[in-house]
């Protein structure tokens, strides 16, 4: 609304001026539509238009259009090459990233394989060691048992012999008689077998 009022108020001075100045100049008018295409002016205007247009075309082609077309083409080429190189760079970057990720995945796979392998190896070695140790231990144990058994047997034998000897001596003393060597050895063997059977039973 304010704008409309502004327009109306703004046009007031023009209205006054145009009425004051324009009225006399517009006076006495009577349409002369034939003047729109009178040969006296139309033919020269047509010829002039053709000549001027042709002149403009050739002059501007040399002075303006060539430069403008060149500028537009340069800009177009520049933008196109920039976009192409950017796209190439992006493609290269994507490819590099892919490669890198593939390498990384491969390395990861390799690493985990290696770890597993190492773990398996370690396990195997440990198992081997353990079984070997166990075997050795068992062997040593058996050997020790056998040695103990042998020592025990020897000690018992010694003990029997000594005991028989003592017994014989004791018996001879008791009997006050001299036992012949043959009797002696027979007695010893008897005693030993008795002790031996006792020892076996007494174990």
């Amino acid at each position: 609304m304010t704008k409309l009022i502004n327009i109306i108020l703004g046009s007031l001075p023009f209205a006054v001026a145009s009425v004051a100045l324009g009225a006399p100049a517009e006076e006495g008018g009577e349409a002369h539509a034939e003047l729109l295409a009178k040969p006296e002016t139309a033919i020269p205007a047509m010829v002039a238009a053709i000549i001027m247009f042709a002149a403009l075309f050739f002059l501007l082609k040399k002075m303006a259009w060539g430069a403008i077309l060149g500028g537009l083409n340069d800009r177009e080429t520049k933008i196109r090459t920039e976009i192409e190189s950017a796209e190439n760079a992006r493609a290269q970057a994507t490819k590099a990233l892919d490669d890198y990720q593939k390498e990384l995945a491969k390395a990861r796979g390799e690493a985990s394989g290696m770890i597993q392998q190492a773990r398996a190896d370690a396990q195997r070695v440990a198992d081997e060691l353990r079984s070997k140790n166990e075997a050795e231990l068992a062997t040593m144990k058996n050997k020790a048992k056998e040695e103990i058994e042998a020592a025990k047997r020897a000690a018992l034998n010694d003990l029997y012999a000594e005991t028989a000897m003592l017994a014989t001596q004791v018996a001879g003393r008791i009997l006050h008689r001299e036992i012949k060597a043959a009797d002696h050895s027979r007695l010893v063997e008897e005693s030993l077998s008795q002790i031996g059977s006792l020892g076996k039973n007494g174990e």
Partner: protein, 386 residues
């Protein structure tokens, strides 16, 4: 300056609304043919302006030589405006229609567009009214001034006894008060400059002069628009023959029909070839004329009201008149651009209709594959007709 109250009726006092559309002669040959008219002068001014402004803009648009990215930046208001229009025509008008031939026809299309645009815009400047107001008294009323420029030997110094305000009498020797001193009986009202007649009044049977102001819209002159349309149709046909060959061009006119029908098609297409430039001529002429007639009529109400109902009524009527005239003036600004665009756009479309299109091997396929050409050449006429 204030006219006497006139009771003879409004219509007789109304200005001729076509006044601004007449191409008044400035310099004429003795046989009456003009060598310089208002519109020729305006075209000369436009030519001068274009030869000054466009190369200036072109230098800014062209790529620089510094080797940096600043080379590719257009600087300045005018170059930007020119570039926007050029790029628009190139990318959105010419390229879709002309394809790889775009750059070949662009100089012509750009010239057509800018020539019409500059003429349309310059026509909106009220030069004719300004010069008329400023020099009307000097040229039509003052005889001494005119007398200095004419040959002393010219025998036809005379005048009729017209009152000064009638402003029809412009005499070689003297007018107005001087009329009374001049020898009676001489009937020439013409101003001469050497053998040439200045400001010849073509409404008079006898040779006479009257100054109507200098200016106007050259594109509102049907002779100028005819010339432009003739150039356009010559280029359209010439480019068509160059692209298709003469045989191909004639074959194109048949639209791929066989013998008996093809004759009819050629006839119809030839009518089309006449109708195209005729439509271009009339569209531009009518649009530019109509706008000025509207402006004249609206502003004419001011003097009609003043003379008819006095100063108070004059001012009262003038306010809405001027407001509407301002609005119409702004519309004219739009029309100036639209009509320049439409003329150049249709010329481009017509050129493309007679071009060999690479992707269409068979002539018959052309119309199947590009049905939009026909639509394109019709649509803008419908949508931009104002």
């Amino acid at each position: 300056m204030i006219p006497e109250p006139v009771t003879a009726g409004l219509l007789t006092l109304a200005a001729d609304p076509l006044h601004h559309n007449y191409d008044y002669p400035i310099i004429s040959l003795p046989n009456g043919y003009a060598i310089l008219t208002n519109h020729i002068l305006m075209m000369l001014v436009v030519t001068g302006l274009m030869l000054w402004l466009l190369p200036k803009a072109a230098r800014a648009i062209a790529t620089g030589k510094t080797g940096t990215s600043h080379d590719y930046v257009t600087k300045g208001v005018l170059p930007h405006m020119i570039e926007v229009l050029c790029v628009f025509f190139r990318e959105d008008v010419a390229r879709p229609a002309l394809g790889k031939n775009t750059d070949k026809f662009l100089p012509f299309i750009w010239t057509v567009f800018f020539f019409i645009l500059f003429n349309n815009l310059l026509g909106l400047v009220p030069l004719q009214d300004a010069t008329s107001l400023l020099f009307d008294g000097v040229i039509n009323g003052s005889h001494e001034a005119a007398a200095e420029h004419v040959e002393a030997a010219a025998p036809g110094e005379s005048h009729d006894a017209a009152p000064a305000h009638e402003s029809l009498a412009s005499h070689e020797g003297e007018t107005g008060e001087a009329t009374d001193h001049a020898a009676a009986g001489h009937e020439s009202h013409a101003m001469h400059f050497g053998p040439f007649i200045l400001f010849q009044d073509l409404t008079k049977e006898e040779t006479a002069s009257h100054f109507h102001g200098v200016g106007g819209t050259a594109t509102g002159n049907i002779a100028v628009t005819t010339a432009l349309a003739l150039i356009a149709i010559c280029i359209i046909i010439g480019a068509g023959i160059q692209s298709l060959g003469f045989g191909g061009f004639v074959e194109h006119l048949t639209l791929g029909t066989k013998f008996p029908l093809s004759m009819l098609m050629i006839l119809l297409e030839c009518i089309g070839l006449i109708a195209k430039p005729f439509a271009l001529t009339v569209r531009l002429f009518a649009n530019m004329t109509a706008g000025h007639v509207m402006l004249s009529a609206l502003l004419g109400f001011c003097s009609m009201a003043w003379n008819g109902v006095g100063p108070f009524g004059g001012v009262l009527i003038s306010v809405p008149s001027i407001a509407f005239a301002t609005a119409v003036g702004l519309l004219e600004l739009l029309v100036a651009f639209i009509q320049a665009f439409v003329f150049a756009f249709l010329t481009t479309m017509f050129i493309s209709m007679f071009q060999h299109h690479d992707h269409e091997a068979e002539h018959g396929h052309e119309h199947k594959e590009t049905p939009d050409f026909a639509e394109l050449s019709v649509t803008p006429e419908l949508s931009f007709e104002t």
